[in-house]
Symmetry: C2
Subunit: 894 residues, 2 copies
């Protein structure tokens, strides 16, 4: 268990954020010296940081922030809020006092930058306007003050360009054209080759362009410039680009953007000025070192533009030792203050340092783990804080082979990143070929239009899967994620001809046995083999995961259908198997014919004969799995899919099967027809099969019991949990329980261990009647794949056609097949738990399926009191981290 | 509103039943004089009536009842409850005192009957044992007392036979054999031809048979006989026949059967004895008259056996005037006591009258209405009590043409009674033929394997539908019930050859134009025409319905897709249209091509062009409906089914359509293929269509608005309610609302009436998130057809295969597609209403679809506070009665 101090340490800051209350008299503008870090929702990220750094006593160019609430008001009422103009005037006056400059003054002009800044970072969403306040009059003042005519005209022409583009809506290219013409005329290549006079001429040409495009003169009044700029920032919040960005990045719940008005500082005023960006630690590997770059005589944009090569930050020590040591102290202070690796921006104006930005720095997962563990060792943060620092989704990169970042090859085309990791192999076009070549120890990539359950053997045999159709939840995608195997799905640019065993992408033809590389983390396809980087579990990772295990309350199990899956799951620290799908065993080559024999049997006797042939095979599977999972529970789900999934359906396949089975084609076809369902998802499946054919579940129960007895005899601890799918009625579960229990009774005296019998919860009715169902259940396990589809009344197979429109129109906050829909599906889950535990307070409740390994869903599972989540073996560490974070967040919010 | 006295009058009795408490010391046997009417749950129906008649001072052969709790104990513990034997002995002693006879006495023997009797009548479930207590010793006593040797031996041989059969499990046929042999030997035809000596010999032969079959002597000890008989009754409660009966009749929640032990009286002791059955009013037409039959010198079974023709009850006045007047007084008293028409049984032993049974008599709906209204006029019952007396399901018989009860023709075969009423017509085998002949004023019956939405015109044109496939919820069944048209579905005995236009049933061939009759109330098919009885709305019915209208709180609307449906609905008193399915209009011949044009359009413009052609047609439909529904709300559901339902899918049909539309076959096939869905029920339908193609709903909204404006101008009151189907997200409804509202805005100034916009509730998620959805809804309407299927996760199309197993195994209490599943689907409905009205307290909530006309579901809708139910026009009176009964029951339970 975590120490109390750990929690309290982390709690302090967050708790303050949570309890912040807005003042009752509406204030729409805060000077940086008035704001606080916890006012981020109304000041935006940038505004809050500038205020916070000001409070810390750091040198920040002063200014003020117009709140997101003003933006919200503007959009709701198509007008500025009342009193905003007066507040603005007061803040300007205060800023003039602080800077000793005057806005619009011809002698000592105050220039400002105007930037947008929402509470969540939306990079590049709204362009910055620099040097606002310049006009012909203030320019003169600036020249007089700086004694640098060229610099001033350069600033002026940049301002007219930016203002024209961002505020007045004149395409940037139109200004570029004029600039290019002038450079041609002057025969210079770089902007820096243009002198002050020509820059002055450029300003005139720009202004003429503005007049031509807008029919109005360029606004000379600085106050009008400011008013227009603020309005442009507000307006930009709801332009198409911004809305698209928020939709794509699933950003919701924001009021609007704040507007930061900040006095200008210049890094381009000569060799005693400069600008730079730096990280408090190395963002690639996490080393504790001051890491970054700077440019002398440059503005921020020049560092990004890459025209000049920046110098390493350590060089600054030589150039401006005082500034460097000040910066070093500041970065140290900032990291300690924010208790996280910082990404900082600064500008030096005439040897005077100004801090412009500080935020948590992006980092690789390797760096993230090193930083988190180092900071704990340095006693900078608690273990709990370290856990909260790492993004669970990033863990994924640790667990699969990857294309090294040094690789610069160009992808042939791009599909969907359907299952992470990269793999290299020879292209094959049929599952049979995949199996055949795999047996000869050749590494292959299976290339298919789409996959189906019949391809499962070939999918196992392949290193990875590439499909031209299907989405993130297609069969290939789901199965590969389960297997931890890379998959690029829905790669529409390739055309597959499985008969000719080729696939074509534009001019490129990939033939059978051509080596290809797929990157399931990005969706990229490469021709040829790429040398991959193998995943390594660093000591940092192991230490970090040991903390994770201490904090989390949710158990994490793996979904595993084979002894091999089970072994991988244990390797990743799975605490049991939460879902073992027995039907996957039915598709294997040595069984499918016996399964088909069972299906075409004319009566119970015939079915029993076929089932008896399957019994030893199923038993063998379970023996292997029980051995792997010594001491851990194994939840085995009895047969779930409708029987027609095991039969072929094309005329050719039917004819072939007819020969193999010695059954007339017509008879076989009529069996296939009779099993056809209009809505197979809502059809004869799960326990409904066993209501009709109890002998199927009876055989499966027998296989489990016999396997468990056999393994138990060897001194291995078996914990079998038999799970009934598609239960909607208590009476169904009661009947199924009777079938299983009567098998168990036959082995009375031989069973010295507990066998639990429980149910999947995947129908809305099971949730609503969970009190009745709990009477017959030793455990519940949510199957939120199906539950989501039933609750919404759509099938994933068909929804591809219309769900994209839902995402485009913003009708979904998040795709409910990606992450649990908390309100709808989650509401039913909560009801289910309440009713079930109302009857059996200690009822074990888990979840299996894709949501069980998705961090936001795991968090929800923790919140509603589940006992465990179960996911693909490869996502076990991700689920564990998400579970630990959820537990820590809960404590903080208590 | 009902007067308070009405309610209180009815309340008294029921309230007592509700509050009855069992004594804490367990008592397992009650003498008739100890029991009470309200102890029916433990005394069974028969035991409670015998006790009640005893309390009323009526001449009842005394006895006692062993409770259902004893039976329950017996089954739970496989043993008699402790103390039962002692109680039995005490009761026997008491009975001996009352009758002055002694059980087992050779001088004055007490004989008893032993009968089962559960709280709900289960006729023929357990055979009666008469004359128990007879053995060679007591027989002698009986002979001495009755001085009628033949009678006594006859009683004896009957007893041995019954006991052997019912208690010892020896087939009745084995005794019959011996009897037949003797009759042959004696050359007599009737039992009555056998004399006392031979009967005595028969007893011996019977006993020998018993010994032969069981290996034991026939039990001579009367106490052993009684013990064995009681156990046999207990045992019979859980035999297969009893379990099947309860399952078929949906009887649940009973403890077991009670056992009635009653002293014997004999109606066959000569001409001063007799037996009879009678009704207190005429059960056919309801006339207030003492109505029944009797037989002199006979036991009860003789009346039923029909060997002798009974006399009319009025004849008894001549034969035994004193007994008759006593009986007349008693029947009067019983009717007053039970406040309902009684069906009574009596026996006269030597001019002494004994009452054996009194229960509410079965009656026709015509009689039920007359009796109910008469009894109110007689001030015997209140209006509320009258309403509770009539079975809503019986109303159905009033509203359709029927085959008169006098018709004695034999049915050719039998299918499912899928839609009530009978109809006569010429057999046709295609919808086109149905339309063609209908236009020529020929009455036709459409005979199809199964029907599909494309057949709708033909179905309208036909008098009734006969199908060889499909169940009670098949397309034909559902549509016919909606149209109020008779339907016999799933008539598996007939083989239809639509090409040759014949259907064959065994030897019989029905050709096109052969006249046939179908009885949708029974499922029967007759060759030739039967003269039907037209439905009449009697004055009794009108009066009765006026009371119903006073008491009910639920409004009742009709589902209607055409002006004609609307007119029928109004005729039956519908208070609006609760569901107008616009897609039904799309299937009509003049529209389907335009719909298809819309579907195959390549872009929005093409779709809009096609939709513009549909607009005036849709508008015309709504004009007609609004006119019919002057002053009543009309809920119009926008397009619901997936688009592929409007396209053909066989190659031949596609080819034909390709020609008509001038589109290549391949192109058309690829469109059909692209619209194919794996689970169409969970596919692209309802408002999902309009998320993708908003122009569809826009056109429909326009048609509604324009129609409403046009009709409103004519001084007709229009109340349009626009309904959005398949809503699962508040954002969906918001988007749909925007589409409709923007159309409404276009007609600003022209609309002087309210247009509501609301939603169907047919997805579990809509229920769970009803608070969010309610924000955008003016009303909710439950679509429990779909809601049931989504909640259970089965589709009615596919569930036929497995739901029969569910019914057979008793996994369903009731088929949830017949009546609302209160716990599951109903639980979601309650949650939905709570959440929705939590946001909008006055939110109008209704239900449409089949459940809206099913009495138990209507009752539930009343209980959970719905505003209205909507059902087939032909079920409006049924729903109204069910609603009134629900309101009355609620008051009684308050």
């Amino acid at each position: 268990m975590p120490k109390t101090t750990d929690i309290v340490g982390a709690k302090k800051k967050t708790a303050k954020i949570q309890t912040h209350q807005r003042p009752t008299t509406m204030k729409y503008i805060y000077a940086f010296s008035e704001g606080r870090a916890d006012m981020k929702p109304i000041l935006g990220g940038k505004g809050a940081v500038l205020a916070d750094m000001t409070r810390l006593g750091l040198p920040v160019p002063q200014g003020f922030t117009i709140t997101t609430e003003a933006c919200h008001y503007y959009h709701e009422n198509s007008a500025y809020p009342k009193g905003l103009a007066d507040e603005l005037e007061l803040q300007l006056k205060a800023l003039e006092r602080k800077t000793g400059k005057v806005f619009g003054s011809a002698e000592n002009p105050l220039l400002v930058s105007v930037r947008s800044g929402a509470a969540i970072s939306m990079p590049g969403m709204m362009d910055t306007i620099l040097n606002l306040g310049l006009n012909d009059k203030t320019l003169a003042g600036l020249i007089k003050k700086t004694n640098n005519e060229r610099f001033c005209y350069d600033a002026y022409r940049r301002f007219v360009n930016m203002f024209g583009d961002v505020v007045l809506g004149i395409e940037h290219a139109k200004f570029e054209e004029i600039l290019d013409e002038m450079k041609n005329e002057l025969s210079v290549k770089l902007d820096t080759g243009i002198g002050a006079k020509d820059l002055a001429r450029l300003v005139k040409l720009y202004k003429a362009k503005v007049k031509e495009e807008t029919g109005k003169d360029f606004p000379e009044d600085p106050r009008e410039q400011l008013r227009l700029a603020i309005e442009a920032v507000f307006y930009s919040w709801n332009n198409d680009r911004a809305k698209a960005y928020r939709r794509i990045n699933k950003i919701t719940g924001l009021l609007g953007t704040a507007v930061n008005v900040q006095s200008m500082v210049f890094g381009n005023m000569g060799d005693t000025s400069g600008t730079g960006v730096a990280f408090t630690r190395n963002p690639s590997d996490g080393t504790k070192e001051f890491y970054g770059e700077f440019l002398i005589n440059a503005q921020g944009e020049d560092v990004v533009a890459g025209i000049r090569t920046p110098q390493k930050i350590s060089e600054l020590k030589k150039v401006m030792p005082k500034v460097y040591s000040q910066l070093l102290a500041i970065q140290n202070k900032l990291e300690k203050h924010y208790k996280n690796m910082q990404d900082i921006e600064f500008t030096i104006e005439d040897e005077k340092l100004f801090m412009l930005q500080s935020r948590n720095g992006k980092r690789t997962i390797q760096a993230a783990l090193k930083i988190a563990t180092d900071m704990v060792k340095e006693k900078l943060i608690t273990q709990a804080e370290a856990i909260l620092q790492v993004d669970p989704n990033q863990i994924n990169h640790l667990l699969h082979p990857t294309i090294p970042s040094s690789f610069k090859g160009k992808a042939l085309c791009k599909g969907l990143p359907a299952s992470p990791g990269a793999s290299v192999g020879k292209a094959v076009f049929t599952p049979e070929d995949a199996c055949e070549w795999n047996e000869k120890d050749e590494k292959v990539i299976l290339v298919r239009k789409e996959t189906s359950p019949e391809d499962i053997q070939g999918m196992y045999a392949a290193q990875g899967i590439l499909t031209s159709m299907g989405g993130m939840t297609s069969h290939a995608a789901v199965v590969c994620r389960g297997m931890g195997k890379p998959c690029v799905a829905g790669c529409a640019a390739i055309h597959i001809d499985a008969k000719r065993k080729v696939c074509v992408c534009g001019e490129t033809v990939i033939r059978e046995w051509d080596t290809i590389t797929i990157n399931g983390s990005t969706g990229e396809l490469f021709v040829g083999g790429v040398e991959l980087q193998e995943p390594t579990m660093s000591n940092d990772f192991k230490l970090f995961m040991s903390w994770v295990d201490k904090f989390r309350k949710l158990k994490v199990r793996a979904n595993a259908d084979t002894p091999n899956d089970a072994n991988v799951g244990r390797g990743f620290g799975a605490e049991g198997i939460g879902l073992c799908r027995t039907e996957h065993m039915f598709f294997e080559e040595d069984r499918i014919m016996k399964v088909r024999e069972m299906i075409v049997a004319k009566n119970t006797e015939g079915r029993k004969t076929a089932l008896n042939k399957l019994l030893p095979l199923q038993k063998g599977d379970f023996v292997g799995i029980f051995k792997e999972m010594n001491g851990y529970p194994v939840t085995i789900r009895l047969l779930d899919p409708p029987l027609h999934e095991f039969l072929p359906n094309t005329p050719a396949q039917i004819e072939e099967l007819s020969k193999t089975m010695g059954i007339g084609v017509d008879e076989l076809r009529s069996i296939v027809d009779s099993l056809h369902e209009i809505n197979p998802m809502l059809g004869h499946r799960g326990c409904r099969l066993a209501v009709t054919y109890p002998e199927i579940y009876e055989m499966q129960a027998r296989a489990i019991v016999e396997a468990a007895i056999e393994v138990h005899k060897k001194g291995i601890k078996v914990i079998p949990e038999i799970e009934i799918p598609i239960v909607g009625l208590a009476t169904e579960l009661k009947a199924m329980r009777n079938i299983v229990e009567s098998v168990i009774k036959e082995y009375k005296g031989k069973i010295n261990f507990e066998i639990k019998i429980g149910t999947m919860i995947e129908l809305p009715r099971a949730c609503v009647t969970a009190d009745e169902i709990a009477e017959f259940a030793d455990f519940f396990s949510f199957g939120t794949n199906d539950l989501t589809q039933m609750t919404y009344g759509f099938s994933r197979d068909d929804a591809g056609k219309f769900l994209s429109h839902y995402m485009d129109q913003g009708l979904f906050e998040r795709d409910p097949t990606d992450t649990i829909d908390r309100k709808g599906v989650g509401g039913l889950m909560k009801l289910c738990i309440k009713l079930g535990r109302g009857v059996k307070p200690d009822l074990e409740v888990g979840i299996c399926g894709e949501h069980g390994g998705e961090p936001k869903s795991v968090e929800f599972c923790h919140e509603i009191g589940l006992n465990y989540v179960s996911c693909s073996p490869y996502r076990v560490p991700i689920a564990k981290l998400a579970a630990a974070q959820a537990a820590i967040k809960e404590k903080l919010n208590q």
